[in-house]
């Protein structure tokens, strides 16, 4: 347990924008301890905020001073790797990539791959229903979780599902995933393991125009090919990333598409040709294909460290997580460009284009109050644009504290009432992660704090 101010400082932020110092931090070692802590907390009406690695981008793990942070980071054992059943059972503190590394020797991996996968925990992934570049073909966390052990706010320990893919009755496993720590604390997770693909190849489509790249995204998804990942970086991001990792990205391009294809060798080879042809039809300047595994890893390193690269250029940036229907990618990018020019702020774009999940990064100087104010206005306009096109305010980062005040623009009062009624079935006194996800207050935000550092390196042969 930590309760000294200098120790608590470490726990006053996550990778998002909000900041608050908790009253204390408690590290649980097992389910029994979590249950005891929750029983006490409920008895004394002390709010509890569960926390994994603190890599979340929406303030989900931020606690107020009257609250305690319950860290699951020390419950980090892989309990069972069951290859014949294609399942693994893990404690919530297991790092995402650690699980893939542990199963790679059996020819399997854990498919959801958030950019922070070297540091983020499976428990946190369950809370946020995390995505990642490879969710385009394989789905997000909820598609890969079959069982949970959960400690409810009153200290009861319950189980949802198990190793079987379905069970009789309500799908409480699926319902729990993505509940952002407002329903219970996950103490054990049963996940599906995915067979490593026989063959993987990565293409880099290079464009002189952002619109052409955006049009390609629509054309590829219409061509009948479903890539494993389809990512886009705009020209500004490219230059920023290239300076950082020297991945060989063309720094004079307006945009690139990073397209990964995986599966049976024959399927991948055919798809690679088809996709390259589509890119060229959509006015790509050039389509490159990673020559070997080393080059492929390098291309992906650029993508996965993009946020960090931006951090070097600008001390403050504000990451958005809007989603739009795929056909609206070109129009939305044009709109973001307009917003960028209007406020005189650089907005870099690096995102899951295949899913229509945008991550515009708004750069600003936090010392300049005008810029700070304008960054918020720009963010609001981008979100308004996503909603106008029938999109969502968050594709994978969660609502947390950050986007709570945007919820009413997406959901009606009746929608939110039903959600609160359901939350109350689990967490009636709102002891657990209070004032998150479902709006109660308005928050303003500021940018701070470094990204968590990597703990786990990928082993050879894993898709990155």
């Amino acid at each position: 347990m930590l309760d000294k101010p200098e120790e608590l400082m470490m726990y006053e932020y996550d990778a998002g924008v909000d900041k608050s110092r908790p009253g204390a931090v408690v590290f649980a070692q097992n389910t029994g301890q979590v249950a005891q802590i929750m029983t006490l907390a409920t008895k004394h009406k002390i709010p509890v905020v569960p926390r994994g690695a603190g890599t979340g981008l929406s303030g989900g793990a931020i606690a107020k001073k009257e609250a305690i942070v319950l860290s699951l980071a020390r419950m980090n054992k892989i309990l069972d790797i069951d290859i014949p059943n294609q399942r693994a059972v893990v404690q919530p503190g297991v790092v995402n990539l650690e699980l893939s590394n542990a199963t790679a020797k059996h020819g399997y991996y854990y498919a959801p791959d958030p950019s922070s996968q070297k540091a983020c925990t499976i428990g946190g992934n369950v809370a946020e229903n995390s995505g990642g570049p490879h969710t385009l073909a394989l789905g997000v966390t909820v598609n890969h979780v079959t069982g949970l052990e959960v400690v409810l706010p009153d200290g009861r320990v319950v189980r949802f599902g198990g190793k079987a893919q379905e069970t009789t009755g309500l799908d409480l496993t699926g319902f729990f995933v993505g509940s952002e720590g407002t329903m219970g604390i996950v103490t054990e997770v049963t996940v599906k393991l995915t067979k490593l693909p026989e063959h993987v190849t990565t293409l880099l489509g290079i464009y002189n125009s952002v619109q052409d790249a955006a049009n390609t995204v629509v054309a590829i998804t219409q061509s009948g090919v479903t890539p494993a990942a389809l990512e886009m970086l705009d020209g500004w991001m490219l230059r920023c990333v290239e300076e950082n990792v020297h991945a060989g990205y063309p720094t004079d391009a307006a945009a690139v598409l990073l397209i990964e294809l995986e599966g049976m060798t024959e399927v991948v080879e055919e798809a690679a040709e088809a996709v390259a042809a589509v890119c060229m039809q959509q006015n790509a300047r050039e389509v490159r294909r990673a020559r070997d595994e080393k080059q492929r890893q390098l291309l992906w390193l650029g993508r996965k460290t993009a946020f960090g690269a931006v951090g070097r250029v600008s001390p403050s940036y504000y990451t958005q997580d809007g989603v739009i229907p795929r056909t609206k990618v070109p129009a939305t990018l044009a709109e973001i460009d307009r917003i960028s020019k209007f406020y005189g702020l650089i907005i870099g774009n690096v995102f899951h284009a295949g899913d229509g999940n945008l991550h515009p990064l708004i750069l600003f100087d936090a010392r300049d109050p005008v810029q700070k104010e304008n960054s918020k206005k720009a963010a609001k306009e981008i979100m308004a644009c996503c909603l106008k096109y029938g999109g969502s305010i968050t594709g994978e980062h969660g609502v947390g504290l950050e986007k709570m005040n945007l919820m009413p623009s997406m959901f009606t009062e009746e929608d939110l009432t039903v959600m609160i009624q359901l939350r109350n079935a689990y967490n009636p006194d709102s002891i657990l992660n209070p004032q998150k996800m479902i709006p109660e207050l308005h928050y303003c935000r500021e940018i701070s704090g470094p990204l968590p550092t990597a703990k786990v390196e990928p082993v050879a042969g894993l898709p990155v």
Binding site: V158, D171, F175, D355, G395
Partner: protein, 455 residues
Amino acid sequence: MSTLAASETIVRELGSIVGERNVTLDALAINGVTPTHVVAPASAEECAQVLAFANNSNLVVAPAGGMTKQDIGGVPERIDILLSTTRLCGIEHYDPGDLTIGVNAGMTFGEVQRTLGEHLQWLPYDAANLDHATVGGCVATGATGPLKHAFGGLRDFCIGVQFVTADGKVAKGGGRVVKNVAGYDLMKLMNGSFGTLAVITRAAFKVFPRPRQTRSFICKFKSLDEALQFRTKMFQSPLTFLSMELISPQGPEYLSEAREPNDPDHYAPSAPVSLKPTTWQVALRATGSDNVLARYQRDLGSVVTLQLDGADEERFWKNVACFEQNVLGRHRNALVVYTHLAIQNVGPALHALERVATDYNFIPAVVGRAATGNLVIALLPLSVDPPSAMQYANCVSAYRGMLPQGSSAEVAHCPVEAKGHFDIWGTSTSDITMMRAVKNAIDPKNILNRGRFII
């Protein structure tokens, strides 16, 4: 609520909401219980008014789509209102470039597939009877078909849902984009909730490019264990299949449409057999170019006894999906049990089934998703001894008792007379108190499908 005067009041009230023409008094019985009133609202708002009225008047409501799965579940004490979604039809949004579609709940799934097919797209979903089953009904029952192997169930690609709660709130979860974590995942909650939490009025799905060509490979084995070894080898191989279905020795008899019901209602093979059939089959479906399919052929080698494509292939998979229906078309007294298992527990469960069937005078026939662990098990009554209600109850209890831990077995069909004698739904691996807490949170008066589901 049984008096004539009360009924007249209900008809008047419902008529004032949906129009007199859309309130009727003749309904098909569900598990022997005839709904007193049938109402068909034309919008979510009308549906909300109907439910608010029912909730205030303590009337029990059963939501209904194409009536293809209404027999599942317990015998309700009464059904005051059958709420039909048939007038909630039409597509709400569909732009092929977005690869998403939103449809109203009363539209049949077949119609949705036809619309998508025009753009070479589909929902990789092949549960039974999709020409009659509605979108709302498919979501509510969580039914799946052989394509579950590669694509999962509707739960895995339902991206938005609109529904009406018991007290008449029109609410939604998700939206119309493929990736979305704003708010709770109410799609998962509605999927398989059997109309007990809310009336689903609209759903949105992620759609997929339709495979340009497919081919199926039928492989035969002398024993269950050999078939399952092959299955494990296949799902661990680089080959990726759309479907991987296990078919028991008696299974093929039910892979064709029933012409007429058996009378008397007992197991009677179409051709006299001197020896009990013992061949287990694994049916594999693959997609790809000629070149890719050639690879499948090469890698599978001599284990394949039959290859199917074109119309024959379509018919085969449709019959696999309709296995349960094909059984019930012949044996109205068959016992059908959906069994959910960890993948490697398929073998132990089926060995248990063989023993239980013999003990209780049934013949077992099985099809199922061999590599996801979801089986459709049919137990056909034998002629020597028409089973009593208790025999169904005892058979199910014995079977459940022999299943490996972590399995669940729900009875999808058995004679109504037997239903009072045992637990239709059985034990879930998910916490039942939390299921009830969820139900109580949004339907505290329990007006939706009272007495029919596990909650």
